[in-house]
Amino acid sequence: MAFSLPLPAHLAAQRWKVKIRDRERLEPPHVTVLHGTKAWRLDLRRGEFMDSTPSPNEVPTELIDFVLESLPALRARWDEMYPSNPVQGDADDE
């Protein structure tokens, strides 16, 4: 089942979502922050945004902090969903 990180109520009310879906582009392990038609991929290995557009500055700092605090749970969930591409990876990937 797709994973949706439960967010603080006011962020959810503003239509922010953080998801790992059952079919994602797999490389590298990431969560997707969704807001309307925009999406930001956040690398689960490095805890950093993967793309420069749309600007990560559009994502509320509070939401970013919440996602970073939730990284251990998100990494575990990714590994459950995508065992062939674990967050730890193999040494050659880095």
Binding site: M1, A2, K17, K19, R21, D22, R23, E24, R25, L26, E27, P28, T32, L34, G36, T37, A39, R41, M50, D51, T53, E80, M81, Y82, P83, S84, N85, D92, D93
Partner: protein
């Protein structure tokens, strides 16, 4: 968006929902005909209800341009074929077609990258495929067999819907990212995605690594090629593989040899 947005309706209520598109409201058959002639090169037409449809089915066609039509009501049979005479793409509620809620639909149509988002779709039970419609109204056919995940929930096509403002395709408990679908089935979207997100690594090795991960393969999974050799290719220590090596790599990845580099 650059092309004209034309709404055919006798009142302004629906047009207001699409105000982000700066649409022109057309009420009479005469206004429709004039707008059709003026915008023959390219236009997006939105018809919220059936009463507006007769103004389009009686259009006198002229030069063939790139007219696209979104009808928010049900449209069956021959009327659809009539519309295809004048419109390059027609999206309407018919035969199990599902569309986004109207507010999200308007949001997608106004998005600068609307072609990378889905507005709706329908299940083709005979060919076991999902026909998805993009924000530019172009269709994309995806085999149902693609919607699966190791150990994940079983996709339920009967519960198909588009969610997250066109960014997710849901089949019951199963969800697929729209960008993952486009990455797999649309070479242009794949190229755009590659240019955007992997700008720093456009090498053959980068493509090989992305495609291998996308397929869920390990470096050990390539018949006749060692994991060490795959690693060297991915790291760019060998700029191009020999033709027979490329053939084997492509076979393991399920693509043509010339497609590897497009990932």
């Amino acid at each position: 968006m650059n092309d004209a947005v034309l709404i055919v309706d006798h009142e302004e209520t629906a047009a207001r929902r699409f105000e982000a598109l700066n649409p022109k409201l057309l009420r009479s058959a005469e206004e429709v005909q004039v707008a059709f002639d003026e915008n023959w090169r390219q236009a997006l037409w939105i018809v919220p209800r059936l009463s507006g449809m007769s103004r389009l089915t009686t259009l006198r066609g002229g030069r063939r341009g790139d007219q696209r039509l979104l009808f928010l009501g049900h449209l069956e049979g021959i009327r659809r074929e009539v519309l295809h005479a004048n419109f390059r793409f027609v999206v309407a509620l018919a035969d199990g077609m599902k569309l986004l809620p109207i507010d999200e639909l308007a949001e997608v149509l106004a998005a600068p990258h609307r072609e990378d988002l889905f507005i709706g779709g329908a299940l083709d039970t005979i060919d076991r495929a999902l026909v998805l419609y993009r924000g530019n109204l172009e269709p994309l056919v995806v085999p149902l067999s693609w919607f699966s995940s190791a150990g994940g929930p079983r996709p339920d096509p009967a519960r198909f819907e588009i969610v997250d403002s066109g960014q997710t395709v849901r089949l019951g408990e199963f969800e697929a990212a729209s960008d993952a679908i486009l990455y797999e089935f649309d070479v242009d979207a794949r190229r755009r995605s590659k240019q955007k997100s992997i700008r720093e690594d456009q090498s053959f090795g980068g493509s090989l690594r992305r495609l291998r991960k996308q397929r869920g393969l390990r470096r050990e999974d390539f018949d006749g090629i060692s994991a060490k050799e795959i690693a060297r290719l991915e790291r760019g220590e060998v700029s191009r593989p020999h033709a027979d090596t490329l053939e084997r790599i492509a076979k393991a990845l399920g693509v043509r040899p010339d497609e590897v580099e497009t990932y």
